[in-house]
């Protein structure tokens, strides 16, 4: 399982704007580089990231070549109710990784 770091506040006040931060380990090989022998290093990147909250999609990003290795994504959302965030990264060569985090909204 590839390593992921997600940071979601454990608690928030209802209606507060919260920041969600995610860091995923991945080489993000752009597919433009060549080996010393002149062969193209095949592309191997994460192509999409999705965040769902209690089942509903709240954030999605498409990723492209020439993004740094170990992509860091952060975004904001409004704390509406207690529940669970689910994160999913999908990429080349069948790459799939997931993570989740709970929040209590009071």
């Amino acid at each position: 399982m590839p390593a992921a770091l997600v940071n979601v506040p454990a608690k928030a006040k209802r209606g507060a704007v919260i920041e969600i931060k995610t860091l995923m380990s991945h080489v993000m090989e752009p597919g433009y580089r060549h080996t010393a022998a002149g062969e193209v290093v095949p592309r191997d990147i994460i192509t999409s990231f999705t965040c769902r909250f209690n089942g509903a999609e709240i954030f999605r990003a498409d990723l492209f070549p020439a993004i740094a290795a170990n992509p860091f994504l952060s975004f904001f959302t409004t704390a509406s109710e207690s529940g669970r965030f689910e994160f999913e990264w999908i990429g080349d060569n069948g790459f799939v990784a997931t993570a989740s985090a709970a929040i209590i909204v009071e």
Binding site: A3, N7, L23, S25, M28, A69, N70, F72, S74
Partner: protein, 259 residues
């Protein structure tokens, strides 16, 4: 090319500069962190944005993985890493009685691989070795560096210091020419810094990955067009030991981010 040209210019400058400043006083010492941009500092400070923490996570898994003919994991012998490895990295490189010589943290891990797990040692700069050393080094974060205190290491520290002072390579520059005499200047846009080894292993943005202090030192040797020491060569360990003794009392900030 830009960087090469700049190094050559600095070499000329170095030759022309009168009365070099010499070693850095204790109160003037600065970690590489202090030379970084606000963005890079923020990346290091936030454990969920610091990519080196991915390596630490990796290390936590390896810590608990049984390996070798002995079928033992690190935790089988050492228990919880945050207890048994607290402060350990701050005193490495340390004296190894069996070999009568200093070993750095990576070598110490590989001694356990070989002797206690009865497994193949990890290759230098391998994902596994970087992950385990990052995990162990993190348990010393904020603690003062004490490596080199052991009197049995005095000859190695002195040897490392001599290497630091010795000119080498086609550019004929010693470490001291840049890191003691010109640490407040820039080279091709990079801060030269004082070469304080406070953050290793590091996540280096230029590498887009993790690397050890040895890898960083090899980079500087290649930079002056010298033949870089081999990984784990006795001179390499002595140089690491001199750098850590020179940073005596500075806080460990591993695993750090560097530009």
């Amino acid at each position: 090319m830009m960087r090469r040209a700049a190094i050559a210019i600095l070499a000329l400058l170095g030759a022309a500069l009168p009365g070099l400043a010499g070693e850095i006083g204790e109160s003037a010492r600065r970690s590489g962190y202090e030379f970084m941009s606000a963005d890079t500092k923020a990346m290091q400070d936030d454990n969920t944005a610091n990519p080196a923490m991915l390596s630490v996570l990796d290390g936590e898994t390896l810590w608990r993985t049984k390996a070798g003919a002995a079928g033992k994991s690190c935790s089988d012998c050492h228990g919880a890493v945050d207890v048994s490895m607290k402060g350990v990295a701050a005193r490495y490189p340390a004296f190894n009685a069996a070999s009568g010589a200093p070993v750095d943290l990576g070598q110490r891990v590989n001694l356990c691989r070989r002797q206690h797990q009865e497994a193949e040692p990890f290759a230098p700069e391998s994902r596994e070795l970087l992950a385990l050393t990052a995990l162990i080094a993190r348990q010393s974060r904020g603690m003062p560096i004490t490596a080199g205190d052991d009197p049995r290491l005095a000859p190695s520290v002195a040897h490392g210091r001599a290497l630091f002072m010795q000119r080498q390579g086609q550019l004929n520059l010693a470490c001291t020419n840049c890191h003691d005499d010109n640490w407040d200047k820039h080279l091709a846009g990079s801060a030269i810094t004082q070469a304080q080894p406070t953050g290793y292993p590091i996540y280096r943005l230029e590498w887009q990955g993790m690397g050890s202090l040895q890898r960083r030192l090899r980079g500087c040797m290649t930079g002056v067009r010298a033949q870089a020491y081999d990984f784990d060569a006795p001179d390499m360990i002595a140089l690491e030991l001199y750098l850590t003794s020179r940073a005596h009392g500075m806080a460990v900030e591993a695993p750090a981010v560097r530009p």
